[in-house]
């Protein structure tokens, strides 16, 4: 069984992907073309046995689950929301933020009535409130979540909070933290077996660099 073939890595486009690539490069999986200014989406370094793809951050786990990529980097929020059937092999300790419940400043919750929750992360919100035995009405939105409580569409929002600036500017505040979020290295379950040597090497080197 050959274990020396190239591994395909799905990286999230944007600042997070560039940070992660720098980590992978240090770990011994370089592909300098990746940082060249071009419209290409696929980059290959045969010598290092690696092929990188830039993909939309929320799609990285799907590429991995379906085997188009052997490994990839996805936020914990995406993994919890969509539950892709992948291995979660390392916490890259970057892209750190938190999933939180936010409400208009001075919001007072009334546990006796159904809580209207606007969110992009319906599954996470549902599981969170189920664990607390709270009856909620999910309002699934695809963006600009912060506007929902301001317009009276929802009581609270469940969303990713990085610095909290957007919330403050819209007179919202975090009232509960659902969970911390960071970027995770995930692997396709079949690829993990047939390219095990290379994937194990990547996980080991990256884990050492992030201090675990």
């Amino acid at each position: 069984m050959s274990c020396d073939r190239m591994i395909n890595i799905a990286l999230p486009k944007g600042r997070l992907g560039e940070k992660v690539y720098a980590l992978f490069e240090k770990a011994g999986f370089p592909c300098p073309q990746l940082l060249e200014n071009s419209r290409k989406l696929i980059f290959e370094n045969e010598e290092a046995g690696v092929r990188y793809f830039w993909v939309k951050p929320s799609d990285a786990a799907i590429y991995v689950e379906r085997g188009a990529a052997d490994v990839g980097v996805a936020g914990k929020d995406i993994l919890l929301e969509y539950e892709p059937d992948v291995y979660e092999l390392a916490d890259l300790r970057t892209g750190i933020c938190r999933m939180a419940v936010a409400a208009p400043e001075g919001f007072r919750d009334d546990p006796g009535r159904t809580l209207k929750v606007a969110t992009k992360f319906s599954h996470i919100a549902r599981e969170y409130y189920r664990g607390r035995g709270r009856d909620i009405d999910i309002i699934h939105l695809n963006g600009s979540i912060e506007i929902a409580p301001i317009l009276g569409l929802s009581d609270v929002i469940v969303d990713i909070v990085e610095t909290g600036t957007t919330l403050r500017e819209n007179h919202l505040e975090v009232i509960e933290t659902v969970m911390p979020i960071s970027a995770r290295l995930v692997a396709n379950k079949s690829g993990y077996r047939f390219k095990n040597e290379k994937i194990t090497e990547l996980v080991r080197a990256v884990s050492e660099l992030v201090g675990k």
Binding site: G67, E88, S190
Partner: protein, 391 residues
């Protein structure tokens, strides 16, 4: 013990190397039959109560139901194993060995609608001694080999994993979260859980053993010493011994180098139904598991006290989904003949090519424009009946 099924001869490939689902299924049935497993046929319907009472065992929640003419709520089978267990008579101390290839109806992962899926597999129910367990695992590996590509079969042991999780916490919710980490090989997730439950009294050593087990992946001889060390730490020597006994029996099989020790293979099913050994099979080029099985004594004991069981299912729909279609051809040869050609010569030519394993479509010359499909080659029969130059 030497177990060998000569399955080199039963690898199933189409002309382009892809697996034909029909041929593959036939090869599996032949394989299981050669080891004395009896074909098991069943009705398409089963009382809904059977599934309602064992919902966690099913892969998907959705079940198609209808009310029968006598008022009973019936279901189109979403699963085969439950029906076999319920409908099989087991003589105390005896063993029933059956295989099946049945249509089931469920909502596959990633789909929002029901699909009819062919599920093939086998079950060994009654008393399952180490030979039975090794034989079933061997047949699982041979089923993968029959797909005609590189394969691996991963074997794990649920009791060891469960013992390691119990050392961290006895809270069912925490143990479930740990088992989810095991299925995902998520070692940092174990750290997060132990940090959140620091008051549960878990020692760092217990978490380390659990993390070692879920991260372990390797050939049997490389991995077993680490499993032995973990078993010693957990006081689970018996579980290690039973795993060792089974792998020693499998050592005599042709494909022993394709077996891997992997505890995530035993974690996914859950402890309500499964026990002992769990295994999963992967074929290169297919991103999901194509075979899943294990011991499920706990499920059998809901129907047969003291019963034991082991079995597996091959997911033919998954294999079909990821098998590349033929490279744009619907047949090997288009054989054109004129209206005046002797028809016995046409038949003779068709038989000549089909006997070579080719797929042949004979068509009247001039009528081929109405044909749908593409062919690798085209040949022509002249008015005297001779096959002329291939065009």
């Amino acid at each position: 013990m030497k177990i060998s099924g000569n399955s080199e001869n039963m690898q199933c490939r189409c002309a382009d190397g892809a697996v034909s689902e029909e041929q593959y299924n036939a090869a599996l049935r032949s394989l299981y039959g050669r080891f004395g497993y009896q074909p098991y046929k069943m009705s398409k319907f089963e009382e809904y109560d059977l599934y309602a009472g064992n919902k966690d065992f099913l892969i998907s929640d959705g079940i198609i139901t209808f009310t029968d003419t006598d008022g009973r709520l019936m279901a189109l089978k979403p699963d085969v194993t439950l029906s076999i267990i319920k409908n099989t008579d087991i003589v105390p101390g005896g063993t029933v060995k059956v295989f099946y290839s049945e249509n089931v109806y469920r909502v596959p992962k990633g789909s929002e609608t029901f699909r009819e899926i062919v599920q093939t597999g086998l079950e060994c129910i009654g008393r399952t001694d180490p030979y039975c367990i090794a034989e079933v695992i061997y047949l699982a590996a041979e089923s993968l080999r029959a797909a005609g590509k590189e394969y691996v079969l991963d074997i794990g042991q649920l009791e060891l994993l469960d013992a390691a999780a119990s050392k961290i916490s006895t809270d069912p919710a925490v143990k479930n979260a740990l088992m989810k980490c095991a299925a995902e090989k998520n070692r940092h997730g174990v750290d997060e859980i132990t940090a959140r439950n620091a008051n549960a009294g878990a020692g760092a050593g217990a978490a380390d053993v659990f993390k070692m087990l879920i991260g372990l992946y390797g050939r049997v001889d490389e991995a077993l010493p680490q499993v032995r060390a973990a078993a010693r730490e957990l006081g689970m020597q018996d579980s290690y011994d039973s795993l060792k006994e089974i792998t020693d029996l499998l050592r005599a099989s042709d494909g022993f180098d394709r077996f891997r020790i992997d505890f995530s293979a035993a974690a996914a099913g859950g402890g309500n139904y499964y026990n002992g050994i769990g295994f999963k099979g992967y074929v290169e080029g297919i991103p999901e598991r194509v075979l899943s099985g294990g011991q499920y004594d706990r499920l059998v004991r809901r129907f047969h006290p003291d019963g034991e069981a082991i079995g597996f299912a091959v997911y033919l729909d998954t294999i079909e989904k990821y098998t590349a279609p033929d490279a744009g051809f619907d047949g090997d040869l288009l054989l054109l003949y004129p209206e005046t050609a002797p028809r016995d010569k046409v038949l003779e030519a068709v038989l000549k090519y089909t006997s070579k394993g080719m797929t042949v479509r004979a068509a009247r010359a001039g009528a081929e424009d109405g044909l749908s499909g593409r062919f690798r080659r085209v040949a022509f029969i002249d008015p005297e009946g001779a096959v002329k130059d291939e065009l």
